[in-house]
Subunit: 192 residues, 2 copies
DNA sequence: GCTCGACCCTAGCATTGCTAGGCAATCGAG
DNA sequence: CTCGATTGCCTAGCAATGCTAGGGTCGAGC
């Protein structure tokens, strides 16, 4: 049985290699540069190997997205845990979110801009995505205000952050006032 | 000279035909289905004709985006003009914006999700885009609140709307609570 | 009526995601 | 140890994509 175990382990390692390599390539040169050929070359296997791990390119994007969701949840939790009081927590959360999006544009794209074949707001939504939303909810729920459903408040706040992240990165918003925009958002939306 | 004029007119008409056909096709079957071959077939010309009007597919997307920006500006202005008082105006604006995005997903994608080769927040930003932002600014500027720059307030409000629009359409947010989310956004962000 | 130029089409290129088919190495049974 | 079977991988290829080169045709202007 040990042989099978070793093979299984090697397969799992190679799958991780594929995902991390796809992510690296995407961060370096953008998702357009992540072709199955280039990806195969980088992992030093032939193209069909990719398809023995994933149904297609979409699933690879999806895998990067899930990895990113876990990291983002961790980043948000780390930032809010280090802050004192609801207001500081929300501000830290917003900064951490936007910071993550700015530092990992390819991962952020995999999560929200590209089609990774992931189900959102469904019963079959993958755990990392649920958990990322939960991480937001933990700090945002406490500033939703009376009579406002915490989940819905989190959705709206999240949407605002998402809008800022994407519009800023796409050059639709000048990057200078980023910090002031965050302050305005927190001041107005959160009920302290 | 009349011959040249006629030719020029026909060229202009054909260019409009390309843009409206691309838009139709995108609305019907999504932008992925808008290939140069299919588009050429629909307008009953060969592919190279497209390239005598536009540098490439990107520019066609950009043309659809510009058309969409003009329409969106008109839709927003029409909605706000019919509303009484700042609060009603902002609510109407938000609804009109989200409604436009929901009813014209392909156009909205051309504007904000796809690369149409357009410059934003620049000195060489095309007029329709500037005007669309101006349409938002007209109604949002009056509820920015004291000490808050109207332009920046508009950016934040716009980003929030953009986030709601994209996340809702991508299935990231459940569509049921759309109206309540708008109310929350207006209540909190706008200073009446 | 003729010539020349604008106009547009056929054909092709490189690249993309994905798949079929075969080859070789490894495993299990005798 | 041998031999058939299975697993795992690669070479080669397909259809579709955006885009371009080159030639042929038709009409304008003298």
């Amino acid at each position: 049985m040990s042989v099978q175990e070793r093979k299984q382990r090697e397969r799992a390692e190679r799958e991780r290699l594929i995902v991390t390599t796809a992510r690296e390539l995407a961060e370096q040169q953008g998702w357009d540069a992540v072709t199955t050929r280039r990806l195969a070359e980088r992992i030093e296997y032939s193209q069909p190997v990719l398809y023995s791990h994933f149904r297609g390119k979409r699933e690879i994007i999806g895998a990067v997205a899930l990895e990113g969701a876990t990291e983002m949840a961790a980043a948000v939790r780390a930032a809010t845990a280090a802050a004192d009081g609801p207001r500081a927590r929300v501000t830290a959360l917003a900064r951490a979110y936007l910071d993550f999006a700015a530092r990992n544009p390819a991962v952020y794209d995999a999560l929200f801009e590209l089609d990774g074949g992931l189900a959102f707001a469904h019963e079959d939504t993958p755990q990392p995505l649920r958990d990322a939303f939960a991480a937001l909810l933990e700090s945002l729920g406490e500033v939703a205000g009376d009579g406002v459903h915490p989940g819905m408040f989190t959705e709206v706040f999240w949407a605002a952050l998402h809008g800022l992240a994407t519009l800023t990165r796409a050059g639709r918003l000048p990057p200078e006032d980023a910090e002031r925009r965050v302050e305005l958002l927190v001041d107005r939306l959160a009920v302290i």
